[in-house]
């Protein structure tokens, strides 16, 4: 353990806690997108965040992903204080501990599906061969092995999202973040992605999912957090369907 990570690790937090937000506030000019949000996510949980458009869901996710910094409050993920890190530190943290999937997939157009996925491992220093091997395993597991040499432009939406999931899982992240993962998919492709997320959670993957989709929340999540105007309006445990 490097001295720096000793400083950053928060005493008293069990390793069971993957995410802890403490009084997180985020302002954009006059408006507060998040207004004192405190939230804890334990290992193995699948948490869904819902709420009306503009209530701060994506902002919350960005805080947890270290894509943006809070105006006030503490963000602790995997034992590290993200609000205290610099850009480079955040990048290295994301690289090793987080996986993200987005509504619009965000694949690189000029890399094949396999290379898009391998890329994530190559950034951590894996050799090209090792990275491709690991990517292939994931392709097999996700049922898209046949599409490995295809370029994103030629993939269907569902396939693209599965490639994106594969990429997010490459470095065995402690936490998988998803922002509207089914938002751009039809119901069939959406179902497939949901099944995938459920399977992942079942084998222990911690999930934080932002969505508008009731079905997605109820099928995949064990807990529901409802946001309104930047505050947590309600928290409830869910019985998965």
């Amino acid at each position: 353990m490097t001295p720096l990570s000793v400083v950053r690790s928060v005493p008293g937090m069990t390793t069971e806690t993957v995410v802890r937000l403490d009084g997180v506030r985020k302002e954009f000019g006059e408006t507060a997108a998040l207004d004192g949000v405190s939230l804890e996510i334990r290992r193995g949980e699948a948490v869904a965040v819902m709420g009306p458009s503009g209530c701060g869901k994506s902002t919350l996710l960005n805080m947890v992903a270290g894509l943006d910094r809070p105006t006030a409050g503490e963000v602790t993920v995997h034992g590290e204080r993200l609000d205290l890190m610099n850009e480079t530190g955040l990048a290295l943290f994301r690289r090793h501990h987080l996986g993200m999937i987005f509504q619009f997939f965000n694949l690189l157009d000029d890399l094949s599906a396999l290379d898009n996925v391998a890329l994530a491992a190559q950034l951590t220093g894996s050799s090209a061969a090792t990275a491709r091997r690991r990517a292939l395993e994931l392709f097999d597991e996700l049922g898209i092995a046949g599409r490995r040499d295809v370029y994103p432009a030629a993939l269907s939406g569902g396939e693209r999202q599965r490639v994106a999931v594969a990429r997010a899982l490459m470095n065995r992240p402690a936490l998988l973040l998803a922002d509207e993962p089914t938002g751009a998919l039809d119901s069939r492709a959406g179902e497939q992605v949901m099944d995938l997320l459920i399977d992942l959670n079942q084998i222990g993957q911690t999930l934080l999912i932002v969505t508008h989709d009731e079905r997605l929340a109820h099928r995949c999540a064990s807990r529901l957090v409802e946001l309104a105007d930047g505050r947590i309006a309600r928290e409830s445990a869910l019985d998965r369907v």
Binding site: M100, Y151, A153
Partner: protein, 775 residues
């Protein structure tokens, strides 16, 4: 229309960097174009412009006062647009004594003032003659220091036939209407032998014949034989061209180069802007914009910043060109003509925006034809399988992934890469050519300046202004000079007219001894070698051309009463100062040579003060008249300055072109960059990725651009010199050495890296949250 304006405004706001770069490129290109055009315009006819500005005479005529009256002359105005005179005129036989200038007969004219309808003199120093005994002399303007150092300041007065005239001022007549001017009263006292009339004619005066014809028109009504002599302005014009002609083609090349580069870069930048907007175009179409409206949005988007840049650039170019032109043409002896003409302004203000519009039209009309779906996918769908294979191969290498991604991107978007490459290539070619040209120019003017020495000395003739003559023989003078501290080299020359077989006029030969060869004249050899035997000579190009001779030819001469055949073994650029045809011969003694026929030229050791040195000569022997050359050094500074300014401008424009292309790349890949950052690419890696790919292009651009630039230099420079009938010594063309070439490759990389760094850094700082969740 308002929808178009709204969309264009939004696009401008969204792409601030690109808008800024288009504006900046337009600014620099316009400035370059204005400077180049002003230069070309001024160069195309520096003499004519100066003449026109002074309303100089088309013909300077001298009439016989015994045959024609002033009233008759005033009345004869056939075809005359404007006239000045009649002025009394006399030949004033100055015995000499004033160093190298103002010896022999001078044409003095009695004139009440420097103004008038014709030949408005530039009274650049002192005042006009207001009383008898005063004279104003004709010379091109010089600044304070050159004047103080030069020969003119050694002329306090002129004396001839018992009349002494005090020099009270210096004026310049571009048309060379006289050597000096006195008051009309003084002229009456001097008993004028001629009457001067200065004419400007209406209609065509482009040739000597035309001027002659107009003059005949004026004089037909006058008594026969009234016109003694007439000088059309072309005579002076040709003389003037000889002095400065050498530099004009070089500067002209810069001007043309500036124009071409500006046009290409603008085209590159603008078409890049439109191509990168294809995805955006698709969305506009999907929104319901008609193809025509889409084109309008794009044209508005690039024209607004281009126009703003062009306005600023024109002002900037004008401000920059003014002092440069002023110095240049003053240095060349054309007075202070400066203006940047209106058409250049118009070209800057209208030309560049129009050019932008035109170049934008080409890719914009492609956007016009694209369907919405095609346009949207043009931004994302990969088209070249080849490029993708390279990308994959690179992914498997041991290179850091950020580096290999950046390199792979070059191949995945070949069109964009070609565009970037073109601007880099252009940049490096330009920098290579421009530095080569400016180097050649600097060497050439150094060569020019080196010859001639630091201080020139001539013994005073008996009727000189001081009346003191030297009693030393030429050997004694040389010994004296050698003994002075600060003397590094001495050349001694004796100018003698020598009659040659087959030549109607005698040739003025400079018999030289001492260090003449080493004082820059040998470096100026264009062909052959310096003379090594008593029967060898070296001639200037001018003399060879005039007399129809070549290196290797022989001349039979009457030397000291003996018929001698000498061989021309070399051709040089420049003659010694003073009269003479430009033939250098090995030293010979002539019994009948007067002391003031000898001419001494001294190179001083580094750091010796010229003033003090000349003072030392004067106090050692008041019969010696030393002077130091001014002027030409100034010209060298100007030429160097001009070429450096243009080279820097061109390099800047080239770098901006690259900056723009890279900025576009970054803009185009915002989402990709955001994604890469989201999966853990550090800001440093983002910069590395963008900069290494551009640096790689820079190396390629450098390696390709340099040979292009060198070849262009080799072809264009001698060509443009040839156009002015100047042969260049090989030494001024061999300007590159390996170190310099390495520096040039580095310049390619540097242009690319600097161009990439700014947008790369802003990309690294990009807040990725938004880009990733939207669109």
């Amino acid at each position: 229309m308002s929808a178009v304006w709204a969309a264009a405004k939004a696009a401008i706001r969204r792409r601030r960097l690109q808008t800024f770069v288009i504006g900046l490129v337009a600014l620099f290109c316009t400035a370059t174009v204005v400077v180049s055009l002003a230069l070309l315009d001024a160069m195309s006819a520096p003499f004519d412009r100066a003449l026109a500005q002074q309303r100089g005479a088309h013909a300077v005529a001298a009439f016989d006062p015994a045959k024609v009256t002033d009233a008759q002359l005033t009345a004869a105005r056939d075809g005359v647009e404007a006239a000045a005179g009649p002025f009394g005129q006399v030949m004033f036989e100055v015995g000499g004594g004033s160093g190298p200038v103002m010896r022999g007969p001078l044409t003095l004219v009695g004139r009440p003032g420097p103004g008038g309808d014709v030949d408005r003199l530039d009274l650049w120093r002192g005042r006009w003659a207001s009383a008898p005994g005063e004279v104003v002399l004709n010379a091109p303007p010089e600044d304070e220091t050159s004047f103080a150092r030069g020969p003119f300041s050694r002329i306090p007065s002129l004396t001839a036939d018992g009349t002494t005239l005090t020099v009270v001022g210096w004026a310049f007549s571009v048309g060379g209407s006289a050597d000096g001017w006195v008051t009309p009263e003084q002229m009456t006292e001097l008993r004028p032998t001629g009457t001067q009339m200065l004419y400007r004619f209406a209609g065509d005066v482009s040739t000597r014949e035309a001027v002659q014809q107009r003059l005949t028109g004026v004089t037909t009504g006058l008594p026969g034989g009234a016109l003694i002599a007439a000088q059309p302005y072309q005579v002076v014009k040709e003389e003037a061209a000889e002095g400065s002609g050498v530099y004009l083609p070089f500067l002209g090349t810069f001007g043309v180069l500036g124009l071409i580069i500006a046009v290409i870069i603008v085209g590159n930048v603008v078409s890049g802007a439109v191509i990168s907007g294809f995805r955006h175009i698709g969305m506009l179409k999907a929104l319901g914009f008609t193809p025509r409206q889409v084109v309008a949005v794009y044209l508005t988007m690039v024209t607004v910043p281009a126009t703003a840049g062009a306005i600023l650039g024109t002002v900037l170019g004008d401000l920059g060109a003014r002092p440069l032109l002023e110095d240049t043409f003053r240095g060349m002896g054309f007075g202070q003509d400066t203006g940047v003409p209106a058409w250049v302004w118009a070209a800057g203000l209208v030309g560049i925006p129009a050019l932008v519009l035109l170049t934008a039209l080409v890719p914009a009309s492609r956007a016009h034809r694209l369907s919405a779906a095609e346009a949207i996918s043009a931004g994302s769908a990969p088209r070249r399988g080849h490029g993708l294979r390279v990308q994959r191969a690179l992914g498997g290498t041991r290179l850091p992934r950020s580096v290999s991604l950046g390199l792979g991107h070059l191949f995945a978007r070949p069109a964009r890469t070609a565009l970037t490459m073109a601007s880099l290539l252009l940049g490096v070619t330009t920098v290579t050519f421009a530095t080569g040209l400016s180097d050649t120019l600097i060497r050439f003017s150094a060569l020019d300046a080196a010859a001639g020495g630091d201080v020139s000395i001539r013994p005073e003739p008996p009727d000189g202004p001081t009346g003191v003559t030297s009693s030393r023989t030429d050997d004694e003078v040389e010994a004296l000079l050698r003994g002075l501290p600060g003397t590094e080299r001495i050349g001694v020359a004796l100018g003698r007219p020598v009659s040659a077989l087959g030549q109607s006029e005698p040739i003025q030969v400079n018999f030289v001894r001492g260090d003449v060869a080493a004082m820059g004249y040998e470096d100026q050899l264009l062909e052959g070698r310096w003379m090594a035997a008593p029967d060898e000579m070296v001639a200037t190009s001018e003399l060879l051309n005039k007399r129809g001779l070549e290196v290797g030819d022989t001349i039979t001469m009457e030397l000291q009463g003996v018929r001698t055949t000498v061989t021309v073994v070399g051709e040089t650029l420049q003659n010694l100062p003073g009269p003479g045809d430009g033939l250098f011969a090995p030293w010979r003694e002539f019994e009948d040579a007067e002391p003031f026929d000898y001419f001494y030229q001294v190179d001083l050791t580094e750091g010796t003060d010229r003033e003090a040195y000349m003072q030392a000569i004067r106090s050692a022997d008041p019969g010696l008249s030393p002077w130091s050359r001014g002027g030409s050094n100034e010209l060298q500074v100007i030429v160097t300055g001009f070429s450096s300014v243009l080279a820097v401008l061109l390099a800047t424009v080239a770098a901006l072109g690259v900056l723009n292309t890279v900025a576009l790349n970054v803009l185009d890949r915002r989402r990709d960059l955001g994604m890469l950052k989201s999966i853990g690419m550090t800001p440093r890696q983002v910069i590395t990725m963008l900069v290494t790919s551009m640096a790689a292009l820079g190396v390629a651009g450098g390696l390709l651009g340099i040979p292009f630039g060198m070849v262009a230099h080799r072809l264009v420079v001698p060509l443009s010199a040839g156009a002015a009938k100047v042969t260049l010594p090989e030494s001024v063309l061999r300007v590159w050495d390996p170190l310099q070439l390495a520096l040039l490759v580095l310049s390619g990389v540097l242009i690319a890296v600097v161009g990439a760094l700014l947008p790369a850094r802003s990309a690294a700082r990009l807040t990725i949250a938004r880009v990733l969740h939207n669109e």
